[in-house]
């Protein structure tokens, strides 16, 4: 089977426009990849639907939209009408969406072809995708290693070359961390840039839909397409800016900050060394790179957990066996229905977080923990804001270590929070943040660089990312045929 999907978006578009290939060819190639893959990247795929959509597109003129006819994979916590939306949970194993998410409206408007829903941690809770009801996906760089999470399936699908683009979701790093573990580009936009309508809520004040891609330019194209104010999401805002406009533009008077915490010894030495290499490269190109202190930066993980688990305990209350989803059969009474539906419908990590979250909101605890966490969160945002007053961007590693073996974290919830210790800040402050591959460790596993920008300043992130991408010779496509 020909490898059109491994070409760049621009090249594929040319071929479609000149009728050298059709959308159906792309879909067939994609499903060929899916069927050959043993990486467990997908939960459900829809070949007939995708082929029928591809046929419909053949009736239309190929316009200037680079996304026209391109297959895309969607994380299984985003609603796509008539497709199952399981959130990788027994609770929604048979649940079929009856509406499209806001971002899916845009995907369809751009004539992209959704091929299926990708694997993830159950209800987006985790950093390895191992809590999935359907088993963990595998890292294409090393089958025995985790893909990262919670958007592990989407990361694997793109990294392994099954599909060029995917949507994920990021609450405390769930797009950036798996992107870092699998060597792809993952972007979490400014809070409110992409509609959350149709994204199954985990932590409402932290969740965002994110874009996962092979390179910076394609990431920006897709993010631009799904950025839209949605009246159905009161936290979304009007976006008229062109976030692609600074790609490959020169970095004049550019100042970048590296938080000292991000380069401390909580991070593996190999990763720190790679970051320092980037620093040197940037300085050679007349970019100012300073180390900075940021107050509260080391306390963020705890604050994040309080807020995320508190909100999650409330957001997941709706799964009760009464309206949709799994229901415990033949309960004795109402209380039995609630208890057993949730006991058997949810996995243990989800239950743990719901219980901790409920505890943190109970009685006096709400004042002691939750309200206080909200206050300090405000202060943390202000501290980051102060840095952006003097610097264009903040950079550092995405993760403290590279992908590790499957089945290591399962009994230690604290260990898995360590995976997100460098990425939660962007969620807490609503700042946009991108991860891109910059090299490998000694096990030949990818190392990711994180670039955090001021709110609404995705274009500057893409500007720096495109520059660095050019400087780094590797395009990390090595495993893109390793299906």
């Amino acid at each position: 089977m020909s490898k059109y999907l491994s070409l760049s978006l621009q090249e594929i578009h040319e071929l479609l426009k000149n009728k050298k290939i059709t959308p159906k060819d792309l879909v067939m190639e994609c499903f060929d990849n899916i069927e050959k893959s043993n990486l467990n990247a997908f939960i459900n795929v829809y070949k007939d639907y995708a082929l029928s959509e591809a046929s419909k597109l053949e009736e239309l003129e190929v316009d200037d939209d680079l996304l026209f006819g391109i297959p895309i994979a969607i994380k299984d916590n985003i609603m796509v009408k008539d497709m199952k939306c399981t959130c990788a949970s027994k609770m929604l194993d048979n649940f079929v969406s009856i509406y499209d998410a806001g971002c899916i409206d845009e995907i369809k408007r751009h004539h992209m072809i959704i091929v299926g829903k990708t694997n993830m941690d159950e209800f987006a809770m985790g950093s390895t995708s191992e809590t999935s009801y359907y088993g963990a996906p595998h890292n294409p760089w090393n089958y025995d290693k985790v893909s990262g999470g919670s958007s592990g399936g989407s990361a694997v699908a793109v990294a392994a070359g099954i599909i060029p683009l995917a949507l994920g979701s990021d609450t405390g790093g769930s797009v950036r961390q798996p992107s870092s573990f699998t060597g792809i580009v993952g972007m979490k936009p400014t809070y409110g840039r992409v509609s959350r309508y149709g994204l199954v809520a985990f932590a409402s004040s932290l969740d965002q839909v994110g874009v996962m891609s092979r390179n910076v330019y394609e990431n920006a194209i897709l993010l631009k397409a799904i950025s839209k104010e949605d009246k159905r999401d009161l936290t979304s805002f009007e976006t008229n800016d062109d976030i692609t406009c600074l790609i490959n533009k020169p970095l004049t008077n550019f100042k970048v900050a590296i938080p000292k915490y991000f380069i401390s010894d909580i991070v593996d030495k190999e990763i720190r060394d790679k970051i320092l290499e980037i620093k040197t490269m940037l300085e050679t190109n007349h970019v100012t790179v300073d180390f900075v202190d940021i107050k509260y930066i080391d306390k963020t993980a705890i604050l994040y957990q309080i807020i995320a688990m508190g909100e999650a305990s409330s957001n997941l209350a709706r799964f009760d066996g009464i309206k949709y989803g799994y229901a415990y059969p033949n309960p004795k009474d109402l209380e039995d229905l609630y208890k057993k539906t949730r006991r058997y419908g949810f996995g243990s990590e989800v239950k743990r977080r719901i219980m901790v979250g409920s505890y943190l909101l109970s009685g006096e605890n709400a004042k002691i923990y939750y309200n206080k966490a909200l206050q300090i969160r405000d202060d943390l945002s202000k501290e980051f804001q102060k840095v952006f007053d003097n610097y264009n961007l903040i950079i550092g590693p995405t993760t403290a270590r590279c992908a590790y073996n499957l089945n290591t974290n399962l009994d230690d919830p604290l260990k898995s929070f360590m995976d997100d210790i460098l990425v939660m800040h962007a969620n807490m402050g609503g700042f946009p943040s991108l991860s891109m591959p910059i090299g490998f460790n000694s096990e030949h596993l990818p190392i990711g660089l994180q670039i955090i920008g001021n709110r609404m300043d995705e274009k500057t992130i893409y500007q720096l990312a495109s520059f660095i991408e050019k400087e780094i010779k590797d395009d990390f496509s090595e495993v893109r045929n390793g299906i």
Partner: protein, 470 residues
């Protein structure tokens, strides 16, 4: 020493906005079950709340008529608890920043006025309606997400009578503010009450009574409950905080559950709805949209000479009162009598409301003025009523067609009276002998001669003049 009652009342009122508060579903009573419910109402995963601005306007109006301070910077909170009628298993309400604080409603009992103080009023969403049978409980999601205001008094009421007066006044104010239908039987107004008794200044154990089906039942519930508590206390029993329901058949309160401590709702600010700032302009627009309130209208009716019993009848029928607002420059006594009497009967008989008839403002204006100037009399009015209500014709045209103008020809009247007196000596003799029915008999003959074209009051006056001069 007498036990003193301390009573607090909580009222939930459905706001009659077009759409629900957090979703664009139609908010309507009486639709077929589950036809006004969308994915948001049913708490489908991935759905988010909207915020219906009309709800905020309505709540502002309610705050205004209840003399509440309006909280300009407010937000919503989640109240977390599991129950089948609560689709998200949390209710979006206002715990920290109720939209209205520190208000009052003034009542009057036996000439004495009292301000019933309102602690707060907040906005929240309604739950599903549930229907229970032996085997199943059924849920109707039409009601889920209907906007409510909850109005909580301070524990400042001291009797069932005060409670009834408070609720009647509250209902009247909210009805005239145009924010709710306040129909207890339809559930658009629900009342719960807290009752405690004590002989000292220290308050007694507070017991809640719910499920009260009418305003008068509230008074009965409070009186019964106070008496029940007194009997127990006299026996030396210690009262526990409880929730009881009022049983209309037995007129008693029945235990539902003992109140446990730690009913923890884990309140936290609703993250999906940004904090709200009510601008002065928005508040002003809402308040300026209010129609005149009942007490102001009562003053006008009183000034115009409408009888107190009729004033209350008009106020109790808002449609009529609103209709009268267009005719404040006419004779309100005549106008209100028409509306309360023959016109109301016509509407009832034909199952119409006033907007469904051909009665235009101009026609009603003409009608009232003609009756006021005695150009037509009541009998003529009754003859032309149907034409007025059902045809497009002007009053003048209707009268012309039917040849029904009263002529004010005094000479004609005098001639007729003289004629009748001259031709009915026997009846005149009877009259002079003191027979009270003679005058009536003469009037009958005069009216017959006049063929309905003369004004009976004027005729009677002239007849009596003439008889007394015989």
């Amino acid at each position: 020493m007498e036990y003193k009652k301390t009573v607090g009342i909580e009222v939930h009122c459905e706001l009659k906005t077009k759409e629900k508060i957090f979703s664009p579903s139609i908010s309507n009573y009486g639709s077929i079950a589950n036809t006004n419910a969308n994915v948001i109402d049913m708490a489908y995963p991935g759905t988010l709340p909207l915020l219906n601005k009309e709800v905020l306007s309505f709540a502002i109006k309610a705050c205004h008529v209840l003399n509440l301070n309006i909280t300009k910077d407010m937000h919503f909170d989640r109240k977390n608890y599991f129950y089948p009628d609560n689709p998200k298993n949390f209710q979006i309400t206002q715990n920290e920043t109720p939209i209205g604080t520190e208000g009052y409603v003034e009542i009057e009992i036996d000439g004495i006025k009292k301000k019933i103080e309102i602690l707060e009023m907040h906005i929240e969403e309604d739950t599903c309606k549930s229907v229970h049978s032996d085997k199943y409980s059924l849920l109707d999601y039409n009601r889920a997400g209907v906007p409510l205001i909850e109005i909580v008094t301070k524990p400042c009421l001291n009797s069932g009578e005060e409670a009834v007066k408070y609720l009647e006044k509250l209902r009247e104010l909210l009805l005239y503010a145009g924010v709710s239908d306040c129909k207890i039987e339809e559930g658009s107004m629900r009342c719960d009450t807290n009752v405690s008794i004590s002989k000292t200044n220290k308050l007694g154990t507070k017991i809640e009574v719910k499920n009260i089906g009418s305003i008068s039942n509230v008074g009965e519930a409070i009186n019964y409950e106070a008496k029940r508590q007194e009997e127990l206390l006299e026996k030396g029993e210690v009262l526990k905080e409880e929730t009881r329901r009022f049983d209309d058949k037995t007129k008693t309160t029945i235990l539902m559950r003992v109140k446990e401590t730690g009913n923890d709702y884990r309140y936290f600010p609703e993250p999906d709805i940004p904090f709200v700032h009510l601008t002065d302009t928005f508040i002003e627009e809402a308040i300026n949209d209010l129609k005149r309130m009942p007490d102001e209208r009562r003053k006008d009716y009183e000034k115009a000479g409408v009888l107190p019993i009729n004033i209350e009848k008009i106020i109790a029928n808002k449609e009529i009162s609103d209709y009268l607002e267009n005719f404040l420059d006419t004779n309100l006594v005549i106008a209100s009598n028409l509306l309360l009497g023959d016109i109301q009967s016509y509407l009832n008989k034909n199952s119409k409301n006033i907007n469904e008839t051909k009665l235009t403002n101009k026609k009603f204006h003409d009608l009232v003025n003609k009756l006021d100037k005695k150009e037509i009399n009541n009998k003529i009015f009754k003859d032309i009523l149907i034409d007025i209500m059902e045809t497009d014709q002007d009053i003048d045209d209707i009268l012309k067609d039917k040849g029904l103008n009263i002529s004010f020809d005094e000479n004609l009247l005098n001639d007729i009276i003289t004629n009748v007196i001259n031709n009915n000596q026997k009846i005149i003799d009877d009259y002079q002998n003191g027979n009270p029915r003679s005058a009536k008999a003469l009037m009958g003959l005069i009216m017959k001669e006049g063929k309905g074209k003369i004004d009976p009051a004027m005729a009677n006056q002239k007849l009596m003049e003439k008889l007394n001069n015989l």
